[in-house]
């Protein structure tokens, strides 16, 4: 349950985060001034197309990529200012689950050792204690510890490997997990199993999640609130139901229209999406979506739209939000 005090102090607060990296003599503007908050016990979904900076943002939150400017406050402490031992200690409380479940497991190591590794790094010296924790988390993700601990990753399917990755991320009892496209590489029938598992684990271990994905329906299935990202900036943030029912940003509306619906009575809207995202090396001035936006005018190229509240709890960065 959410504590009354926690309501005011989010577990994660990202302030005006900027992440850039060099590409030859050019600069990729991957994340350009993103602010967001995740309350304790909440799942914030982060959606956007490839290259929008959503994975970079996730990694910058965990300090796996250092920001150029801005702050990442976790439980009140600024991670961007931390280094060395302090940062390592903090990392036990925050974990990451990757997209490719097979590539993220060392093929030469046994499952029991893979899942135990974070414990070793964290300095848990007692072997019996480590074994006990590994058994616990493997059982929690629906695997039989006796059957899997001594086997190698290649003996498992993609879905099972993702269960193992989830077990590994849980072994240190973290408070916060960044899930970066955790089901994109899985088949539909397996995807549903893993989404259900993540929801179960979240409830059971009282987790807070940043759930990054490109699939809006997948994001909605698990998220309390959703943030939509385009070319390094947030377009819109709001409660899931509200955002999907009444998108205020034209980009959110475009994404929703473009999804193929598994119902032959819903005719696909002809060419809803014009053009392609511009390069993050030379993003457009003003609103970054303006080059593809049907509503764009002079003001959109001159002035960067700020996130403004358009409905209760729903914020859009648009000069001409949809009614």
């Amino acid at each position: 349950m959410m504590q009354p005090a926690a309501r005011h102090e989010p577990l994660l607060r990202v302030d005006n985060l900027v992440v850039e990296y060099g590409l030859g003599d050019k600069t990729v503007h991957a994340v350009s001034g993103v602010s967001l908050q995740v309350a304790r016990g909440e799942t914030l979904g982060l959606v956007g197309e490839s290259g929008c900076g959503k994975s970079t943002l996730g990694r910058a939150v965990l300090q796996l990529r250092r920001a150029k400017s801005g702050r990442v406050l976790f439980d009140g402490e600024d991670l961007t200012a931390m280094e060395g031992e302090a940062l390592r200690k903090m990392r036990r409380r925050v974990q990451l689950i990757f997209q490719d479940p097979i590539a993220s497991l060392n093929p030469r190591r046994r499952i029991g050792d893979i899942v135990a590794e974070p414990l070793i790094i964290a300095g848990v010296k007692d072997d019996a204690e480590r074994k006990r924790r590994v058994r616990e988390v493997l059982a929690a993700v629906g695997l039989d510890p006796e059957l899997v601990a001594n086997r190698l990753p290649h003996e498992f399917s993609g879905g099972q490997c993702q269960r193992i990755s989830i077990a590994r991320s849980l072994v240190l009892n973290p408070e916060f997990i960044v899930c970066d496209e955790p089901v994109s590489a899985l088949d539909v029938s397996i995807r549903a199993q893993i989404l259900n598992l993540l929801e179960e684990m979240k409830a059971r271990f009282g987790l807070t999640l940043l759930f990054i994905a490109h699939d809006l329906a997948v994001v909605k299935a698990v998220s309390d609130r959703v943030a939509v990202m385009y070319l390094g900036r947030l377009c819109e943030v709001g409660p899931s139901e509200q955002l999907f029912a009444r998108p205020a940003h034209p980009y959110t509306a475009l994404l929703l229209q473009a999804i193929p619906v598994p119902d032959p009575d819903v005719r696909p809207a002809e060419s809803v999406a014009a053009g392609e995202p511009p390069s993050p090396i030379a993003p457009p001035s003003g609103c970054r979506f303006r080059t593809r936006c049907p509503q764009a005018d002079q003001r959109c190229s001159a002035e960067i739209p700020e996130l403004r509240e358009v409905a209760i709890g729903q914020f859009a960065a648009c000069h001409h939000p949809l009614a």
Binding site: V188, Q193, A221, I259, V261, D263, V266, R267, A273
Partner: protein, 330 residues
């Protein structure tokens, strides 16, 4: 009614693996009329890609193919390699999931397009160049003349797929096989590419097979859908009929497992438990039986044939079909 453009009968593909023979495609029958679209849907390993390779006669060398693939009056299985090569270039085209499978990274886009046109349509260089520009414009490439001098790596993923489609369409094929054409692309680009394929198909009266794992992709765009599971077609029907009344429990479970936009957050998804069977260890009964909530001992003992009951063109392979009128099936 005119005979179908494509009829495949009893097609089976077997692949030798270290673990034994893998029966990737298991006695599949399908047909497709000119100008129509067939969607083949299934999860990874269900045999949908191997089936498309069997139609194209592009199977791995070690694969063993049996059955008949009648295309435009000829059995492709019996055709000489040279005739097959000519046929594949002109009448039978393919678009892959990764456009770099078919694009050559060290040749310019212009060279690749013009090469095809000069070889198969015997156009001279200026005519091939003119036609290339028209094709690139038709698939929605801005400034097509400048693109001709560029290499594939200078284009985005969506642009590369458009170029691969332009090459596939260049010789006016009678059948286009699109194997997961939009899986590697973002959703807004996916919509554009699917629109493009549909538009070109109508314009050219071309038949098309869309192979995908996404029921959403075929729902609005295929005339008929075949659902594959463990190498077999387990249900096949005209698209509206299929979505209205799924008879095969696998099809129903697959649709139910997709997260829907209209569902409230945190609603548990009706997941399919377990996973598909090991294709090197075929089951005696129905392949879906171990994961099926309607399965009985009969399903584990015998393989249900693909049959129809109420509607002649709605086929399913199940002893306990769902959503049937009283007294039929079961």
């Amino acid at each position: 009614m005119t005979p179908p453009l494509l009829t495949i009968t009893d097609v089976a593909v077997e692949l030798p693996t270290p673990r034994g023979i893998l029966r990737a495609v298991d006695d599949v029958d399908l047909s497709l009329q000119a100008g129509r679209t067939l969607g083949i849907v299934g999860e990874s390993g269900c045999g949908k890609t191997m089936l498309s390779r069997a139609i194209l006669q592009l199977l791995p060398k070690k694969a063993k193919l049996s059955g008949r693939v009648m295309f435009d009056g000829q059995d492709l299985v019996q055709l000489a390699p040279e005739s097959l090569r000519r046929l594949r270039a002109r009448d039978l085209a393919v678009v892959f999931q990764d456009p770099m499978t078919s694009l050559n990274p060290v040749l310019t886009i212009g060279t690749q397009l013009m090469e095809t046109l000069q070889e198969h349509l015997e156009l001279d260089t200026p005519a091939a160049r003119k036609r290339s520009i028209e094709l690139l414009a038709a698939v929605g490439i801005p400034a097509p003349e400048q693109r001709l001098a560029q290499y594939p790596h200078q284009c985005s993923g969506g642009m590369r797929q458009r170029i691969a489609i332009a090459i596939a369409l260049s010789c006016e094929p009678k059948l286009l096989i699109a194997d997961e054409p939009t899986t590697a692309l973002d959703v807004t680009i996916q919509a554009q590419i699917l629109d493009l394929l549909a538009r070109e198909q109508r314009r050219r009266h071309m038949a098309m097979i869309i192979i995908t794992h996404d029921l959403g992709v075929v729902a609005g765009r295929a005339d008929e859908v075949a659902v594959m599971y463990a190498g077999r077609v387990v249900e096949r029907a005209p698209t509206p009929m299929l979505f209205k009344r799924m008879h095969m429990p696998y099809t129903e479970a697959l649709l139910a497992a997709i997260p829907k936009l209209e569902t409230a957050p945190h609603t548990p998804l009706p997941a399919i438990s377990g996973r598909p069977p090991d294709p090197t260890r075929p089951l005696k009964g129905c392949s879906f039986a171990p994961r099926c909530r309607y399965a009985t001992s009969r399903c584990r003992e015998a393989k249900p044939e693909l049959t129809s009951a109420e509607m002649a063109d709605h086929l399913y392979a199940c002893f306990h079909p769902i959503k049937m009128a009283e007294g039929i099936g079961a």
